[in-house]
């Protein structure tokens, strides 16, 4: 990924959400977005120009717009109507984003729109995150990468983050995935873990 003086940036049309520009590139703030936070914490993540990404939990399209700057095509899934309004607006200006309004728990509804992808990026703040990934795994090519942004407080308020991450990792291994990297998103996002695995 492109880094200018320690700041992660992406190349694309700016002004999506008032992001700062640096040498004509869009600054990708790790405090706002979990993906650059994971990268700064050492996650072995790379977004290549020929990648196709299934992005679950696209929300307002903030992170999606940056991902779309790097990769070929992003299938952005979001369920809530309010953020979807924003996501459509972002997608209108970026022809490589396919916004889909659907529930990530029901891939059979949007299965007819999504092609095989190189990466699944999941940031959904739901209690059943491993399960959601399992349901969507058929979209991922063999050897593809799955990135899970685990919000521990959405899974269980009582357990420590590490314990929840360990449980999730066990569930991921059970479905045949190889865990490549896990790490916290401190100090950018509290109680969050990033899990990267390959199929």
């Amino acid at each position: 990924m492109k880094v200018i003086r320690g700041t992660i940036v992406s190349e694309g049309e700016g002004g999506v959400y008032g992001e700062r520009m640096l040498n004509g590139c869009r600054v990708w703030d790790p405090h706002r977005s979990k993906l650059p936070a994971a990268v700064l914490n050492g996650a072995p993540l790379d977004l290549a120009a020929d990648m196709r990404v299934l992005y679950m939990g696209a929300a307002n399209g903030t992170t999606v717009s940056h991902v779309a700057d790097y990769v070929e095509t992003v299938y952005a899934i979001e369920f809530a109507p309010r953020p979807m309004q924003d996501l459509i607006e972002v997608a209108r200006r970026r022809p490589n984003i396919v916004p889909i309004m659907a529930d990530v728990n029901r891939p059979e509804v949007y299965g007819c729109f999504v092609e095989a992808v190189d990466m699944i990026y999941q940031d959904v703040a739901q209690p059943n995150q491993a399960d959601i990934l399992r349901k969507n795994l058929p979209f991922l090519k063999d050897g593809g990468t799955a990135v899970l942004m685990l919000k521990a407080r959405s899974v269980d308020v009582r357990k420590p983050t590490e314990e929840i991450a360990e449980e999730t990792c066990a569930a991921l291994r059970e479905m045949g995935l190889t865990i490549v990297w896990t790490g916290t998103l401190n100090p950018y996002h509290r109680d969050h873990m990033a899990i990267i695995c390959t199929k």
Binding site: P81, I88, A91, V98, P99, M101, E108, G111
Partner: protein
């Protein structure tokens, strides 16, 4: 046969989907292929070879146009239920309360400085009357207080609007606990469909999330009531039965929300029975 948004692919045979985008979306709604180990995701190359599209660029442009149309339709549907606007109205009301209180407080301090001989003590003067007095001040303070007065009038009007709309959107909940409380519960749940999906135990503590999570984390006593407390039968109940009453109200509310969402009309018989039940619980020692 594999079915995708652009058409069906059966071995080497390709059948394109017919009609305009609305027809295509209607057809997509009938496709519910299980996404499991045998599922084959669509291939854009295949779609192009089949002659549905000239190249990937054209494919994506068409797909985006279809999915954006679909999303727009779904957003419209979600917002046309009437509860979406009600949520915003409730949030505005709560915010206005906050703002009016803060402004009144600040104006009061200012007024005291301008009138060193004045004190509110022993005058039993409500904030509303206080604003009325300060309105007569000359200069910016008076003008600002006139604005505060206007704001609180708007607030009162908004509250009436909310009650009226809640009666229409969720008649049974509204009849059970009053428009404002019903609307606040719905706002906290995130919509009528969400509220209808909640168990009574959750409805009982909606709005007391802080206390609930402290209970779960640190084992403090669980909250007896959240927003429900604002309903008169809960806060007027004697302390020893308040938890019981709150539970009964929540139980009936859970049913009322389901009637509101799935049937959408007032059920006077249910309301009568529910009221009677809640009253019985309240009387018990």
């Amino acid at each position: 046969m594999r079915r995708y948004w652009f058409g069906d692919i059966d071995g080497s045979e390709c059948t394109p989907a017919q009609g305009d985008e609305d027809r295509i979306l209607e057809r997509c709604d009938t496709i519910r292929e299980k996404v499991d180990a045998t599922f084959v995701p669509l291939s854009v190359d295949e779609a192009c070879t089949c002659g549905f599209f000239a190249d990937r660029e054209e494919y994506l442009a068409r797909l985006r146009s279809v999915t954006i149309r679909d999303a727009r339709k779904k957003i419209l549907e979600a917002f046309s239920e009437g509860d979406a606007e009600l949520i915003q109205m409730v949030r505005m009301l709560d915010e206005m309360d906050e703002v009016v209180n803060l402004l009144t407080e600040k104006a009061g301090e200012w007024y005291l400085v301008k009138n060193p001989g004045f004190s509110r003590k022993y005058k039993s003067m409500s904030a509303k009357r206080m604003v009325g007095v300060m309105k007569k001040e000359r200069g910016p303070l008076g003008k600002i207080c006139a604005e505060i007065d206007g704001l609180s009038n708007h607030r009162a009007a908004l509250m009436r609007d909310i009650s009226k709309r809640t009666d229409a959107v969720m008649p049974n909940c509204s009849a059970l606990v009053g428009g404002l409380v019903a609307a606040r519960l719905m706002e906290r749940a995130g919509g009528l469909s969400n509220l209808a999906g909640l168990p009574a135990s959750t409805i009982q503590v909606l709005g007391a999330e802080g206390a609930l999570f402290t209970h779960l984390r640190a084992g403090s006593p669980p909250p007896k009531h959240g927003i429900i407390f604002q309903h008169r039968r809960v806060h007027n109940a004697p302390r020893n039965v308040r938890g019981k009453v709150s539970r009964a109200v929540a139980g009936k509310l859970a049913i009322a929300a389901k009637i509101d969402y799935y049937r959408g009309e007032l059920d006077p018989e249910f309301i009568e029975r529910a009221q009677a039940r809640i009253d019985v619980v309240g009387e018990k020692e």
